[in-house]
């Protein structure tokens, strides 16, 4: 009988900035099974946002996850705009595109740096983050803040881009375009990097489809899904760009897909900055009638989805958020089992998981009193009892 060790990753582990908890069941250095526990970061944002007014909610959902702080508000405002049937001005659509693509560049570079850090390649970490700075500068100039942009509002955009800003963003793009080419060459050609990342944590196309992966995780496994193309929002149908895919689904391909997407984002940005139409950036929204609306946005990590229900009041009656990591986390089991521990960390990191997005709680409660009836341990007991009973019957 082989000896199994239980290795906890987390809840506090420097692998991710966030608290999460994976239990790896290992034989020697090989992982034979794993289990994920979440909810250390659960804050109940859906609940918070149902206590806010229509205009306040974007600022709350922006804090679902810091890195996607342009995607969540955009998905939300699109949902509300659907209910209120607002015609968003053309210029606002372009501004939204610009901010979301800048966010994509900063997020992908951030991830690339962290991936380097996880495999002990700190030089990559520092260099990637250094080239990310111009992008943050551009965002700071455009929106006023490095990270939480607070720019999307129902009916348009809070701030307009002045010609100086357009010029500034263009210059920052020039600054990072060169290094980015260098990075892609390094990633594709560095022999040790490919030794370390190729054929590691493979997610097959079949698994990716079956588990419903989305975003770069799916695209690296040759599943070409992208909300920006499949159901265009903002100004994505007005610019020329391509969906990037790779064939193998290993960690290396996930790096490649993200880097190519970053280049693509620069392409989109250049067109958007060039074609920025004149006009207002804010349509007036008087009230939100009762109804239901859905908004989805291709966040850097995949599709983020917001459902909003209105009863005609001052704020949403129900607000449901589904972040991309929620789809991508289950792929861990497909890609991690059978890997050595050293590869698990980079595989876990490769979907660029975002736990603060994903966290949720399951509570079995009494409908009238709201009292908690069962917790996780009880549920396990229940399920074991059932197994026992079935066994007895046999």
């Amino acid at each position: 009988m082989t000896h199994k060790t239980l290795i906890p990753i987390g809840p506090y582990h420097p692998l991710q900035e966030e608290a999460e908890f994976f239990q790896l069941y290992c034989e020697g250095e090989t992982v034979v099974d794993m289990d994920a526990r979440i909810s250390y970061n659960h804050r109940g944002i859906e609940g918070v946002s149902m206590n806010r007014t229509w205009d306040q909610v974007p600022y709350v959902v922006e804090r679902v996850c810091g890195i996607c702080s342009a995607s969540h508000p955009l998905a939300y405002v699109q949902a509300v705009e659907e209910i209120a049937e607002v015609e968003v001005p053309e210029r606002a659509l372009y501004v939204r595109t610009i901010i979301n693509e800048l966010e994509r560049i900063h997020s992908h570079l951030l991830w690339f740096g962290l991936a380097g850090h996880f495999i002990g390649y700190n030089t990559v970490f520092m260099w990637a983050w250094r080239y990310r700075e111009p992008c943050l500068d551009a965002l700071e100039v455009v929106t006023g803040s490095r990270i939480n942009y607070a720019n999307h509002t129902v009916g348009g955009s809070r701030k307009d881009l002045t010609p100086e800003m357009v010029k500034f963003v263009g210059e920052r793009l020039d600054e990072i375009e060169g290094p980015l080419d260098m990075f892609i060459t390094t990633a594709l050609e560095d022999p040790i990097l490919s030794l370390r990342l190729k054929d590691v944590g493979v997610l097959t196309e079949q698994d990716a489809r079956a588990l419903g992966a989305c975003g770069p995780t799916a695209r690296a496994s040759n599943v070409p899904i992208d909300v920006r193309r499949d159901d265009p929002y903002a100004a994505y149908d007005r610019v020329d760009w391509d969906v990037m895919t790779c064939q193998n689904g290993d960690v290396f391909d996930k790096v490649v897909v993200r880097l190519l997407e970053t280049k693509e984002a620069i392409r989109i940005l250049r067109q958007a900055l060039r074609d920025l139409p004149e006009g207002p950036v804010q349509a007036s929204v008087k009230e939100v009638p009762p109804g239901e609306g859905v908004g989805h946005v291709e966040a850097p990590r995949g599709e983020t989805f917001h459902f909003v229900k209105s009863n005609g009041g001052a704020g949403p009656e129900r607000h449901k958020i589904r972040a991309p990591s929620f789809n991508n986390v289950p792929t861990f089991r497909a890609s991690c089992i059978g890997q050595p521990i050293a590869d698990v960390t980079i595989t876990l990191a490769s979907i660029d998981p975002c736990y603060s997005c994903t966290e949720r709680m399951a509570v079995v409660a009494d409908r009238d009193t709201g009292e908690e009836l069962m917790n996780f341990a009880d549920l396990v007991k229940l399920s074991r009892q059932k197994t026992e009973e079935i066994r007895k019957q046999l």
């Binding site: 420097p14 900035e17 970061n41 804050r43 709350v60 804090r63």
Partner: protein, 147 residues
């Protein structure tokens, strides 16, 4: 103050290693913490290193509201940290819970949670959502000055 104490204090001031605890943050504060290590801000020139275990840490950087799940763990981490150690409440969330003050999973402000374990804990607050990296450096520098 004896010479020995002075030397100890010098060491503490010149080499604060930080351990980063996320008790339910939105990630922005965490990113900005990592940002501190990178070329533009490079806090290593001040001796600050990101420690990989609370055992090696001199300061806990706590980000995020303290959720119910995180609360006992934060207390445990504080107990595990080699004293003397500072606690830095980073960001509006950790200082006051900010925008999440009425979230149902919020289990008490970070400072109260820490004080339950150690009433004389040294706690410093760096507000902002997220605080700019410059503000973080300024906050930590000030805290070290008053040690």
């Amino acid at each position: 103050m004896s010479v020995l104490d002075k030397v100890k204090l010098w060491g503490l001031k010149k080499s604060p290693w930080v351990y980063h605890v996320n008790t339910g943050a939105c990630n922005n504060c965490d990113i900005e913490v990592l940002e501190l290590l990178t070329p533009r801000f490079d806090v290593e020139r001040l001796g600050v290193l990101l420690a990989c275990s609370p055992r090696h840490a001199d300061a806990l950087l706590v980000t995020g509201i303290c959720t119910r799940q995180a609360r006992p763990r934060l207390q445990e981490i504080y107990r595990q940290t080699a004293k003397p150690c500072l606690v830095v409440c980073l960001g509006a969330c950790a200082c006051t819970a900010g925008i999440f003050h009425d979230a149902w999973h919020f289990a008490g402000p970070v400072d109260e949670v820490i004080r339950e374990v150690d009433p004389d804990a040294k706690i410093i607050y760096i507000p902002g959502c997220p605080p700019k990296p410059e503000a973080m450096i300024a906050g930590i520098a000030k805290a070290l000055q008053d040690l």
